[in-house]
């Protein structure tokens, strides 16, 4: 079955630096969504990119999608301590609506 995989598993950076997280998946998709989870809290939707889109921006977030490589990346620019969280990619398969999540990347931004 399809599985999203994030890379790296954990990332530690200084405030102000950029953070890049990658996600790979295995089957055709309708869209790919990125979520954030702060410790002990729910999932917060960050951005959705459709299969016919290659890049999308939202504030300090930039997401790219390469369907030929079945991969996506999430870039957070000028990181802040408040960006410390787990980040998940989730793919919405071409047939069906169930999101398939990766294991997540734990981001720590040190102030």
């Amino acid at each position: 079955s399809q599985q999203g995989e994030e890379d790296p598993q954990a990332l530690s950076i200084q405030e102000g630096e950029n953070a890049t997280m990658n996600c790979s998946y295995k089957t055709s998709i309708n869209n790919l969504q990125w979520y954030r989870q702060n410790s002990g809290r729910g999932l917060v939707h960050l951005i959705l990119i459709r299969s016919n889109e290659r890049e999308k921006h939202s504030g300090r977030l930039r997401v790219t999608l390469d369907t030929s490589k079945k991969s996506s990346s999430l870039l957070i620019t000028a990181s802040r301590a408040a960006d410390t969280a787990s980040y998940f990619c989730a793919t919405d398969p071409e047939y069906g609506n169930k999101l398939v999540f990766g294991a997540g990347t734990i981001l720590r931004v040190k102030s």
Partner: protein, 115 residues
């Protein structure tokens, strides 16, 4: 606009007991989903409602889990009898009808601990 809400936020029960989780989706969202994350594993899909109908329940682990969405509004997920391996965080999400915003909006989750 209120987001997806879930109740309770935490539940601690003993093996063999019954627990019922509730999810209230965003008003007007026809699609409702249940997911769960057991310790150390990925978030996994359980099932998908479109209004009151079960569209896909391929992720339900076994017949100890029963989900309902009477009237197409809120949904309940009952675990009976609960087992130790059912411990985890149960998330609910909702989205608009197909063709509109496909974003799935998640609730805060219910943390279930079976002792």
């Amino acid at each position: 606009e209120a987001g997806v809400t879930q109740f309770p936020s935490h539940s601690v029960i003993e093996k063999g007991q019954t627990v019922t989780l509730r999810c209230d989706p965003i008003s007007g969202h026809d699609n409702l989903y249940w997911y769960r994350r057991v310790m150390g594993k990925e978030i996994k899909f359980l099932l998908h409602f479109v209004k009151e109908s079960k569209q896909d329940e391929s992720g339900m682990p076994n017949n100890r889990f029963l989900a309902e969405r009477t009237g197409g509004t809120y949904s309940t997920l009952k675990v009976q009898p609960a087992e130790l391996e059912d411990s985890g965080v149960y998330f609910c999400a909702s989205s608009q009808i197909a063709g509109m915003d496909e974003t799935q909006y998640f609730g805060p989750g219910t943390r279930l601990l079976v002792l």
